[in-house]
Structures are given as structure tokens and as C-alpha cells.
Symmetry: C2
Subunit: 143 residues, 2 copies
DNA sequence: CAGTCACGCAACTTATTCAGTTACTAGAAA
DNA sequence: TTTCTAGTAACTGAATAAGTTGCGTGACTG
């Protein structure tokens, strides 16, 4: 795959699920649709389950389902569940610099990036899975 | 270094320059402050020069300078100059899917990610280098 | 003019990340 | 008991990007 594939895969899968919330999907089904591998799917969806967005069941007729209505799942939920930090890179080691100006500036740059990161999450929280795949979707026979 | 290092390096360097706009800085100076390599610095700053944010001069007393006032350089300018696409991953190959629902959904997911990307750039355009390193910076003797 | 300094650039090396893959275990239903 | 599915660990391979080396080019200096 390519960059941002986790977020893209999650978004894709959950949007699919939003179309038929009652259907149980196996990781193989999902992987086939997303053109990837069942293990990769389980890895990504596992994070979403930990965050309470999905449920999974083992055994016959097992698989994955949304844990709550699509309109209650925002892109921020997904983003945070995946531990993505696209902008601020999670305030690294930050070994203190020799120079005071340097140190102060490093801190300031980190602050600014954090602010941007927060803005991004705020923006993501304004869109739900239901917005990505509206009930009026012309491709789905609404069942 | 680590992830997002280009954006971080650029931000750091330009903020530094904002403190003393008239000073000519060599890539070695900058690399030392940023704890990295002169060639890496030139690679990143070269992109910013292409975008008209910086100027560079060869030879004795050569180096790098801001091409315009710090308050006229936004984070979006930097972000775009670096060709970063943190969110939308730049609408890849997109081989058409067999399935109509699939294809429509892929398109839709791409649209959503593009919208988020645009929001991010809009947010970045609200902050300038001067905001990152204000003239009132307590660390710098304002000269 | 010769020497030095700095950018420009290409090529290579190294480290990291992550998707992909294989193989196995555990649990639930038929 | 068989089968189907998730869960997980371990490994592989590709891609990305930083780091490094070396050399060319242009500009200032003495």
C-alpha cells in the first residue's frame, strides 16, 4: 500500500459497514474489498475495537461490526484510536539544548505543532462515518 | 531524526531567522543548531527557496536569508513548499474497482480526506513565522 | 590570479517504518 | 470433532528519508 494506509483503510471499512450495520464481516471479506491482507485488517480494526468503535466475534458466523451507530463515530475517534499524530509527531525525546534561545524556540515550535494537531482533531470530529457514507448513498440499495 | 522532520526543521530554521532577519546563515550553522547535517538543511531549504520564501548566496559571506518579512510567511507556505500531504496522500493510482459500490466509496473517502487536507492548509495559513517567533521573544535581545 | 568558502547536486549508505506473509493458538458454532 | 474466525507473534520486503561523501560551481578575498 502507501502512506496513510491505516487511516484510509479504517475509513474505508467503517464507511462500508455504515451501509449495512447489521451485517457481520470477516477480516477476509474486508481485506478483499480493501485489496489487502486479513492480518493487516485485524491489526487496524483491533485498534478500533480497543477504542470501542467496533466489536469482533470469533468462530462460525464471527467477524466485525460497528459497536455504535455510524452517526456517533467521528473521524477524530478513528484518528485517535489509530494513534496517528500526523502533525506534531508526539513531542519526542527533546534533549535539552545547550543554548537558551535554542531551547525556548524548540519548545515554541512544539507548542505550535501541537496547536495545529489539535485543530486537525477538532476538524476531524466534525465529520462522522455517516457523513462519509450517507444513508442516501445511491450505490447501496438502502435496506 | 524522526518523522515530520522536514516540516519541523523548516519551522525551526525560519523561526530562528525571524529573530534576526538580516543575518546571513550558512547551512552549517543551521545544521548545528538543528542537530543535523548541512546537506539535509540545503535539501529542505532548497524547497523553500524554490517557493520564494528564502534566498541563498554562494561564496564568501554567502548563506541563507528570509526572502520576505516573517509576518508574510505562513505555515501553509512552508507546508506546501515541502510538498507535504500529511492527510490525503495525494490521490494515488486509484485502479478502478470491479465493484460499483467499492469504486464509489473509494472516491468518496478520497474526497473526504481531501477536504480534511484543505482544512489543515487553511489552518496553517492562519499562523505566520512571526507568530512562532514573536518580536517580543524574551530570549532574543531585540536588535 | 589563487585560495577559500558556501551552495548545488548526485550517488551511496543506513535506519526506520510498515505492509505483507506465514504459522500458530484460542474460542465458538455446526 | 470439525470448521471457521479472530488474536498474535515472528519474519520478510519495499519504501522512505536521513545521513554521508565527493565533486562541481560561483563568489568573495587577499
Amino acid at each position: 500500500m502507501k502512506r496513510n494506509s491505516r487511516l484510509s483503510l479504517a475509513l474505508h471499512t467503517l464507511s462500508h459497514m455504515a451501509g449495512e450495520p447489521d451485517r457481520m464481516r470477516t477480516s477476509s471479506d474486508i481485506a478483499e474489498h480493501a485489496r489487502t491482507n486479513p492480518v493487516v485488517v485485524r491489526r487496524v480494526l483491533g485498534k478500533l475495537r480497543e477504542a470501542g468503535l467496533l466489536t469482533s466475534e470469533k468462530g462460525h458466523s464471527g467477524g466485525w461490526q460497528l459497536a455504535k451507530p455510524a452517526s456517533n463515530i467521528t473521524l477524530a475517534d478513528i484518528y485517535l484510536a489509530l494513534d496517528e499524530r500526523l502533525v506534531s509527531a508526539g513531542n519526542k525525546d527533546a534533549e535539552p539544548s545547550h543554548c537558551t534561545v535554542e531551547s525556548g524556540l524548540q519548545t515554541r515550535v512544539g507548542e505550535v505543532l501541537d496547536e495545529i494537531e489539535n485543530s486537525l482533531v477538532a476538524r476531524l470530529s466534525e465529520t462522522t462515518i455517516a457523513d462519509v457514507h450517507p444513508a442516501s448513498c445511491s450505490y447501496c440499495g438502502s435496506k
